[in-house]
């Protein structure tokens, strides 16, 4: 454990957690609408992966606020997007599930389960023929591993030895469907192991996530083809704000909460004496301020003008001819 890295992990996970709690509150106040999928409990995956995979292209599912923050997206722009404001990262046209920022090579927020995996795979193909071996990182949930798009992508990525990391966040539930009801086994890394190196890790431990992705990164950069990581994790909230998550037992929830990625990182760092206790308090204050600023920015930003309705359907040269 490296002190500076632990501090960064803590800061980003805390920022992510507080962002999500604030988003939840803003949703309840009616400032955010639509589907809102919170990452609370899964921050180690979002932060550990993005800290390790710091170059290359990222393709993600729709539970992506914290992943975007960890990639370097400004929380203000994300909150504004959640509020549907024109200052949002997607001009208020995407919302919670569609946070795109090509400047960060972040192509995220795909809201069709598993559908971003063929796209990520195609991107990895292009990077390979360009000699860009930083490659591609694709993150998805347990539910995605039952879809055809998932298996097609494993097959193609392996057949063509593409530089891509498949990262599965296994939180055991696809909305209310327990993975074991619809998959022959709950340890999902088995699904990939005939195609590529495949491993299962503790996704509640940010350091373990970080190390696993670093290893996968070396593998793809050496041109050895794709790599699969399954991270066991848990979401403390429902699937989205319209789901109370009551299909899970309190015992199960308590087991995972006792493994909380943020609290445990702090405890461990203090035990090892590698981070001074004041750091956590200062960071919490800093995070609270940033979140407050993000909410204020979003609240005070203007709505998109109605003229935006027909903008961005086509590129400029096509817009001229499309009625």
């Amino acid at each position: 454990m490296n002190s500076a890295r632990v501090k960064t992990f803590y800061y980003l996970m805390k920022l992510g957690r507080e962002f999500e709690l604030a988003a939840k509150e803003q949703y309840m106040q009616g400032n955010i609408a639509g589907f809102l999928h919170l990452d609370i409990g899964q921050e180690a995956c979002s932060v550990g992966t993005m800290q390790a995979f710091d170059k290359g292209d990222v393709f993600t599912h729709y539970r992506e606020h914290v992943l975007a923050i960890a990639r370097g997206m400004d929380p203000k722009l994300i909150m504004a997007e959640l509020f549907g404001k024109v200052t949002g990262v997607s001009k208020g046209k995407g919302g919670s599930m569609h946070l795109f920022e090509p400047k960060l090579d972040f192509y995220g927020g795909d809201a069709i389960v598993a559908a971003h995996l063929p796209i990520a795979t195609g991107c990895a193909y292009a990077r390979k023929i360009e000699g860009e071996m930083a490659g591609v990182f694709a993150i998805f949930g347990d539910g995605a591993t039952n879809a055809g798009a998932f298996f097609e992508s494993l097959n193609i990525a392996a057949a063509w030895k593409l530089p891509i990391i498949f990262f599965c966040e296994n939180n055991y539930y696809a909305i209310g469907t327990r993975i074991g009801w619809v998959s022959p086994f709950e340890e999902l890394y088995h699904k990939a192991r005939h195609y590529m190196p495949s491993t299962r890790i503790n996704g509640m431990d940010v350091c373990e996530v970080y190390e696993a992705v670093m290893k996968a990164k070396e593998h793809i950069e050496e041109g050895l083809g794709p790599y699969f990581i399954e991270a066991e994790t848990y979401r403390y909230e429902g699937h989205s704000m319209s789901d109370n998550g009551k299909y899970r037992s309190e015992e199960e929830m308590e087991i995972f909460k006792s493994r909380d990625p943020i609290e445990n990182l702090k405890k461990e760092a203090l035990k090892l004496g590698i981070v001074e206790p004041e750091y956590f308090e200062e960071t919490n204050k800093k995070v609270a301020k940033e979140i407050q600023e993000a909410i204020e920015f979003a609240a005070n930003s203007p709505e998109p003008d109605l003229s935006e309705l027909y903008e961005d359907v086509y590129c400029k040269e096509c817009t001229n001819v499309i009625p």
């Binding site: 393709f59 995407g94 069709i112 063929p118 195609g122 292009a126 023929i129 591609v136 086509y314 001819v321």
Partner: protein, 325 residues
Amino acid sequence: MLYREALNRAIDESMAADKSVVILGEDVGRYGGSYRVSEGLFAKYGPKRVIDTPIAELSIVGNAIGMAIAGLRPIAEIMTVNFSLLAMDQIVNHAAKFRYMSGGKMTIPLTIRMPGGVSRQLAAQHSESYETIYSAVPGLIVLAASNATYAYHALKAAIFLNDPVIFLEHELLYPMEMDFKEIENFDPFKAQVIKEGENLTILTYLKMRYDVLQAVPQIEKELGISVEVIDLNSLRPLDMKTISDSIKKTKRVVLVEEDHKTGGYGAEVIARISEQLFYELDAPPLRIAGEDVPIPYNRKLELASIPTPDKIVTQIVQWSQANGL
């Protein structure tokens, strides 16, 4: 020039001009393409740019979108439009929507070529026309290439457009010898008046163009009129100006399409004409379209399921007499 050679030339020249152009699909490489459209390209440009894919349409289009995001200009070939339904989610939910839902940040310069239509006894799962589906999707451009000149120029334009293009071809056209002419400043979005006339406008596209042209002399003879024929070329966007100019002159319009009548592409065209040009018309518009049945295998039944030159003549003559032309 053969129709398929025009397509091949458009791809070849585009690949030679720009290294970012790649093609992918089933059998496009070593095999040369199931309709020989990509013949010779594998030998010329190699396996990195001429990519043989597995039979997985979802991934052909999904991969192509990823390549486009990475900065390539992929041309995805779907062996027939019938198989494109497997890629529907990628085409509609991803290629067509990324620009919009990213607030304009994403650009998907993707061309998806797909032959369709009734060929010869290929039966229900290999004979459909789905232009009506793709033309209904904001974010897509839909071009329908009926001839070598348009195919060549429009495909080149499509490849270098910064939006996803559904490029429709017809299976019976590939081996046809056609006139070919190079045109400067070609506009792929413009409909073409392929025969001028005074008393009736026939709108059509893809292979029906030839059935209509075959029917026209008989129609003109039987009715003693002159007929104007317009090949729509671009289905989304639709060139309403050319259509409108013609109808204002002829006052009568017939649309001939191979697709099923119910919800077919022609329904949209006639709806727009009814909204915009109602008082220009001297007769109710007529649609001549495929029957509302899956395409049968038996040749007699197959021909009965789509418009033919004879049927076009008969229906137009009946309609004209009923409407006092």
